[in-house]
Every structure is written in C-alpha cells, then in structure tokens.
C-alpha cells in the first residue's frame, strides 16, 4: 500500500470498512468531517484498492468495499454432504428406471401414492432423472427418464442391465412382505411353495 496515507484518507477508508451499507458522500462526511477533499480521497482509495482482493466501488452515488468479482468462488465453499434418498424418492427413481419414459401420473398409478413435487426435484438435482419431453395425450404431461449419470452411479452399462421381473421374482424380491413373514414364522405355506417353484 502507499507508504503514508494521510489521516483523512485513513478515516474515509475506516468509515467505509465498518459501514453496514454503502455510504453516500454526505454520510461519509458525517463521520470524517470536512477536513479534506472527499472526492479526491475516494478516487485515491479506489485506485489503491484497484486490482486487490477487495475493491472500492461506487453504485448509484454510494460507496462501499466489496470483494473482487473473480474471487466469488472462494468465498462460497462447497462441501459434499452424504445423504440417503428418502423412500419416496427411491421408489420414484425405481419406477422411472423400469418404466421410462413415464409421466408423474403414471408413477403415481404404479406407486399407488402421490408423488410430491420435491421428490422429482431431488432426483433431478441428484442428476439421475431428467425431463424427457411430453406425452402426446390430452394434457401433454411431462415425462421423465433416467440420465447417463444414473447409469454411471448404479454401475449399469444400460437400462437393460436392470434385473427383470423374473429375476426379481427368483431373488425373492417380489415376495409380498406378509407372505415372507409367514414363511419366517415357520407356518406352512406348502401350497404356494409349489406355485413358486
């Protein structure tokens, strides 16, 4: 910085530094008095701070210090926060993956539950779901499909890698919950056994 800023300049600098909002010259003078040439001081300060990390700028007749525009990125630090998808989001994602492209109404029909607006937003924010045009039916509803990031995240080379209904059945993933429970309690489920075989 300049070797010897005079006291008037220092006072202007300090007043602008602590101010809660941009100051008009009149407001600055309320603090620093009339003992100097304010216009010159502001111009000098502007020059001295030009090119630094903090700049003195004038907007609509008010002056304030602000950080240089190119440094905005360092003042906002992003931090990854691992989070689990909600059950509703997971179900919606699964339905889109198996049935894409699907409209919201179709998702609701399959889930048997309404889909909250935020649920699709979360999936789109995660980058796994995208709008894929509109269905050419009355109302022209938006339809949704999965993205390449979806495939990447779940380690799939294509949607065809998703296990089919028969695979799910074989893995026991289609067992209604109550039936599975009955099996666990050791009661006989003989008749159905044969059907499943």
């Amino acid at each position: 910085m300049n070797p010897e800023p005079d006291d008037y300049l220092r006072a202007v600098e300090a007043a602008l530094f602590v101010a809660e909002h941009p100051l008009t010259p009149a407001e600055i003078r309320l603090h620093v008095g009339e003992a100097g040439d304010l216009d010159t001081a502001l111009r000098t300060l502007g020059d001295q701070y030009a090119g630094r990390g903090v700049n003195l700028v004038e907007r609509g007749g008010r002056w304030h210090f602000q950080t240089a525009a190119d440094l905005a990125h360092i003042l906002r630090r992003e931090k990854d926060e691992p989070r689990r998808l909600s059950r509703a989001a997971m179900e919606t994602l699964a339905i889109i993956a198996y049935h894409e492209p699907v409209s919201r109404a179709e998702i609701e029909a399959i889930r048997g539950v309404q889909v909250a607006k935020g649920t699709l937003d979360v999936l789109m924010e995660a980058g796994w779901v995208r709008p894929a045009g509109r269905r050419e039916v009355p109302g022209r509803p938006l339809i949704y499909a999965t993205t390449v990031e979806f495939l990447t995240h779940f380690g799939l080379s294509s949607r065809r890698d998703l296990p089919g209904i028969e695979d799910l059945r074989a893995a026991g993933l289609l067992d209604p919950v109550d039936l599975a429970l009955e099996g666990l309690t050791g009661q006989s489920v003989v008749e159905n056994d044969e059907e499943e075989a």
Binding site: A14, F17, V18, A19, E20, H21, T67, L75, R76, R77, E78, K79, D80, E81, P82, R83, R84, L85, R87, M90, E91, L93, A94, I95, A97, Y98, I110, R111, G112, V122, E125, A126, W128, H153, F154, G155, L156, L162, P163, I165, L168, A171, L173, L174, D175, P176, V177, E191, E194, E195
Partner: protein, 260 residues
Amino acid sequence: MADLFTPAPIPAPHTLTVSFDAWEGPLDLLLGLARTQKVDLREISILALTEQYLAFIDSARQLKLELAADYLVMAAWLAYLKSALLLPRQEQPDPSPEDLALRLQLRLQRLNAMRDAAARLMARDRIGRDVFPRRAPEGLRLVKKAQWRASLYDLIATYGQIRARTQPVVHTIAVRPVMTLDEAIQRVGALVGAALDWTRLESFLPPDLDPPKVKSALASSFVAALELARQGRIEIQQDGIFQPIYLRAPMPADHRGPLL
C-alpha cells in the same frame, strides 16, 4: 470503567467521608491506605499501615458507619500484629510478627500488581470501543452440496417391493392329480369282467401312479365299485371293517356269496 480511571479516593482520617462500598474488602482498603504512604510497596512500613488502618476504623466507628465483619476481623488481627511487633524480639510469638508483616506486604504487592494489570488491560485498544471489525461482513459461506447415496440393490429391491405391494393378488387353483369318477367306472367296469374270482380293489388301480394320485384313484375306484354294484354289474365283498375290499363279476344267483 469509571471506577478504574478515577483514582480511588485517598482516605485521610481527618477528612473521612468514605463509604465502605468503595472498598473491595479489608485488603483493598489496606492497599488504598498503603498508597497514601507514597512509597514502593516493598518499602512500606507495615507498622505505620497498621496504625493507619486502626485509626481509619476508629473514625468510622465514631461516625457510626456500618462496618462489615471482615473489616473488624482485619482490625483485630492488625491490632494483634502491632502489639506483637512492638514486643521485644525474644518475647515475640511464633510465627514471628515479622513473617506475618512480610506476608501481608506480599499480599498487598500482589493485589496491587493485579490492580495495575487490570487497568492496563482495560486501557488497551478494545474491539468495539477503540477498534472495529466490519459491522456487516458478508460472511464466508459453506454451501452443503448433497451427495446422494443409493445402491443398485436399493433400487431393485425397492422396485420389487412396489410391484409386490401394488400388483393385484391372483389366486391360482392348482390342477390336482386326480382320477375322475368316470375314469374309475370305466376302468373298474372293464377290468372286473376279466377277473374270475374275488380280486382286491387295489388291483384295479393303474400301475406306476404318483403317491398323491394313488389315493385319488383308490377313492374314485371305490365309489366306482359302489356304482357298478348298484347297477348289478359287479359284486363286492368285505370281511370286516377296514378289511380289504374284494370285487368280482356277478355270479349266477345260486352261486352268490354273502352280500356286503
């Protein structure tokens, strides 16, 4: 801070207008008195200080000021110290009054040092009074970016659950391995004609049947035998309950055996 920067009122017995609220206890009062000696605390005369304190307390009493107990305790102790200091050395008690006086002096020095330190601390350039940070800093922001976690297993398991939950439950009636009554009537009717003598019902069943079908065939064949007997096309014989059932073609009337 007013009480810091205005020097403590210097008490002098002849101009005593002091409120005891001004003192933070007897040690504080002693220190105030000691400062009136205007010497380094290391040079202070404890005997003179003791006399000052006792005179001060006396004046306060004459003015009927309320004295807190600890001021009086200190007065009593100082009166003892004074008398001990005045004794010839060989008659002095143990610990020696000189040690006690030294201890008091050291305490006064320490309190004085901290009082000065507090004053110098308070006189520093303090934030919000002498120096100012920005009043409305924008703040460094930490933006939390959600890193969504979900596994392929979660995805397919969830899909399976949806399907299991929402698909209409279809009950399929299994086709059972049975022999119908018509089949049995035909079979038993055909075979019994070929048998010359009593033959067990089981012998009319088809060979190589699965165990579940055996029961069905047996039951059907039994009903078929009853039906054929009713029509007079065969005869049935059983020797007792749960005994084997025998069938044969009908004999002429005179050869007829006992009926069931």
